[in-house]
Each structure stands twice: as C-alpha cells, then as structure tokens.
C-alpha cells in the first residue's frame, strides 16, 4: 500500500491489504488475481484506516459469495442469500433423515420450549403463599391537645367607631363630550309612548351544505400506489379537485390542486380519483344531493 496518509491508515491499510490478499486467494482461481488487483485499487481510494478495514472485511464476505456463484451458477441467488447459505450450509443439502434447515428449525423450537419450561417451573417454585398474620387488638389513647388560650369574646358592633376617612387619592375625571346625536340616543332607548313594537323580520333561511367525499365502494388507494414510487420510497399528500353529480359520478376530469412533488404519485392520485367515479358521496344541501366540486385529499404513505 503506497498511499498511506497517517499512522492509523498505515496500520489499517497494512492489515486491510493482508485481508484483501487472503480473501482474493480464497476466490476461484480464475478470478483471484483480478479480484486482488481490483480490490487493492479500490482500497487505495479510501483514506481512513477504519474505512479500509471495513472494505477488506466486506471483500472477505464477497469472496465467499462469489465462490458460491461461481461454482453453483445455476442457482443464481442474490448475494445476501448466497452468503447466508454459504455460512449456514445449504438447507437443501440434507444429510440423513432430516435436512440441515429442518434440524436447525427443530433445534430452535426445542430451545424455546426448554426455555419457557424452565421459566415457568422456576416461577412456580418462587411463588410464596401469602401468610395471614393474627390480628392484634390494642387500645389507642387519644393524644391530648395542648392547652390553648380561650378565644377573645366577640364585641358588639358599634357603627360610630368605624373610621370612614376617604382615601388620599385625587381622581381627575373629565366629562365625556357628548357626541351622540338625538336620533342615535332615540334608537338606543325607544320612548314608551310610541306605537307598539313591530315584529322582527324572519331570519334568512341558510341551506345546510355538507361536502361530499369518497363513498362506499371507493377504490383502495394502495392499489394505485405506483410501484416505482414505492421502490423510491416516495410519499406525500396530493389534493385533487373533483366535480361530482348527484349520483356520485364525475362530471369532469379531476385536476391536481396541490401535487406531492413526485410526478408518479400525482399521476396515481389522478388515476384513483378517476377510478372512483360512481363511488363518490355527493354533496348535499338540506339533505338533498347536489352537483358540486370539492377538493379530495389523497395521502400516499408507505407502511412499515
């Protein structure tokens, strides 16, 4: 390793280089030389010793997977699965009555059974029955209160003894200028000897409007979550404007009011809104369904 910047990198690089050579030697013969040179070149791009060590350990793992892929190309497994099989032994290559996978499964189940049996047995031994102690009755003497002086006798109320001197404050309150004109005062306080009061005008009738929304049989939004957006872990809330008639059918093509920032999610929201035609709950006025347009909020959220 010619490019060593500091002492830590020197130590890590030396050991990492040794690990890489060791890993490459374990690779298939046709690939060993190539992998050693390739990995050493890629190792030289890493600066810190810790990063080089991680890289070298990863290459050791990669060697095992590459060897597995090389000698068993027909299986073509993914790398992680291949490595796991390589370390744990291929479950299909069973020896004797049970395969290794089945044996491992039975072993794990057996260990669980033993663990819970021991746990329950131990708990049952440590449970101690509650002991009932005999009741002991003894007289409790009431503590004596300390002798306090008697309260003063209430004196009869004498109004002449009240000190009613006014407080030493000076308030300067200027009279408010009269700005109210006569008619306004008249409106505030109507005279009594006028004509009988007229009945107030009836209040205007306001129609009770209830906005519609997705109704029964509306499609499941998960069915319209774009697959590629799932892969890219894209999430967001789209607001789509829909115009719906009295029977819950779309009267025009939905339009995006507020996008999610991801074109595929927005497109999925429009598809969902279109697919829901006939399954919308129409808006109502005084309980009667009417045509209306309203925003529909669609959230795309990945479930863990």
């Amino acid at each position: 390793m010619s490019q060593r910047k500091d002492g830590a990198a020197d130590v890590g690089g030396g050991f990492s280089g040794w690990l890489l050579h060791h890993a490459a030697r374990s690779a298939p013969e046709s690939l060993a030389e190539r992998l050693a040179e390739e990995w050493l070149a890629d190792l030289s791009t890493r600066q810190s010793g810790w990063s080089r060590l991680r890289f070298a350990i990863g290459c050791c793992w990669a060697t095992r997977v590459i060897a597995y892929q090389h000698y068993a190309p027909t299986l073509a497994p993914s790398s992680a699965v291949a490595g796991t099989r390589l370390l744990a032994g291929d479950g299909r290559r069973g020896s004797g009555f049970l395969s290794r996978r089945t044996t491992t499964f039975l072993l794990v189940v057996g260990l669980h059974v033993v663990f819970f049996y021991v746990l329950i047995a131990k708990l049952s031994q440590t449970m101690v029955p509650a002991k009932t102690l005999p009741l002991q009755n003894r007289a409790v003497t009431e503590p004596k209160l300390r002798d306090l002086p008697p309260p003063p006798k209430p004196q009869p109320f004498d109004p002449r003894r009240l000190d009613l001197t006014p407080p030493d404050t000076h308030l300067a309150i200027e009279p408010e200028p009269k700005t109210l004109s006569g008619p306004e005062i008249d409106r505030a306080v109507p005279p009594r000897d006028q004509s009988p009061p007229t009945t107030p005008p009836p209040a205007e009738h306001t129609a009770q409007q209830i906005q519609g929304g997705p109704g029964a049989g509306f499609p499941n939004p998960d069915d319209f979550y774009p697959s590629f957006a799932r892969y890219r872990e894209e999430q967001g809330v789209a607001i789509v404007n829909v115009c719906v008639d009295e029977r819950g059918r779309l009267t025009s093509d939905p339009t995006t009011v507020q996008g999610t920032g991801f074109p595929q999610l927005d497109e999925g929201a429009l598809k969902l809104a279109r697919a829901g035609s006939g399954h919308y709950r129409a808006s109502t006025e005084d309980g009667k369904p009417v045509k209306s347009c309203y925003p529909l909020r669609i959230r795309f959220k990945l479930k863990n």
Binding site: S2, L35, D42, P73, A76, P77, S79, S227, F228
Partner: protein, 101 residues
C-alpha cells in the same frame, strides 16, 4: 465468467447498482465509484457486479494507466452493455407498467 445470457434475480441492492449506471449509461465506473454513489458495502457490491457481468449486462476492463507513473494501482472499470441497457430499461419499465395498469 462467461458472457452467456442468464436470468438475473433482482434485489434492492442490484436495482440501486443498475440505477447508478443508468444515470449515465456510457460512463465507466469502478467498484469504488459505485460504492460512493449508492453506498452499497463491498461485500454486497462486488458479487453483484460479477453476477451482472456474468449475465452479460456489464462488461469490464482495466483502466488504461501506467500504475508506476500514476502512483496507484489500475482500477477495474465496469460499463453497461447494449444488452444490459436494454434489460435494465425493461426492468425499470416494468415498475412503470404497474402504475399505468
């Protein structure tokens, strides 16, 4: 590693590697470059690169430098083949077909 066409099983890491190469299909990338761009560890990355090369999706060659004058070992550079580009496009298009269905 032969160049015969074979079925490649798609894992999330494989998709990330392919996505990295799709950003500029004509660019040649070393394993270290791919690691820097998609963050896949070496233990997973190199088996994927070799598997895709064996499947004929990638082709690799040594960097054309003189290691003694450059002061570093030559790198192995990977590039998408025309077959690989076609297959990768099909794979990612299959995701889009799911949207349009």
């Amino acid at each position: 590693m032969g160049k015969r066409e074979q079925k490649v099983r798609m894992s999330l890491q494989t998709l990330r590697v392919l996505e990295t190469f799709l950003e500029n299909p004509t660019e040649q990338l070393s394993g270290a470059d791919v690691h820097q761009r998609c963050g896949i560890a070496s233990g997973t990355l190199y088996p994927i690169l070799l598997r895709l090369e064996a499947a004929g999706w990638f082709v690799s060659q040594w960097e054309t430098i003189d290691p003694s004058s450059a002061g570093r070992p030559r790198r192995r550079l990977y590039r998408l083949t025309s077959t690989g580009l076609k297959r990768v496009t099909e794979v990612f298009a299959s995701f889009n077909r799911g949207v349009l269905a």
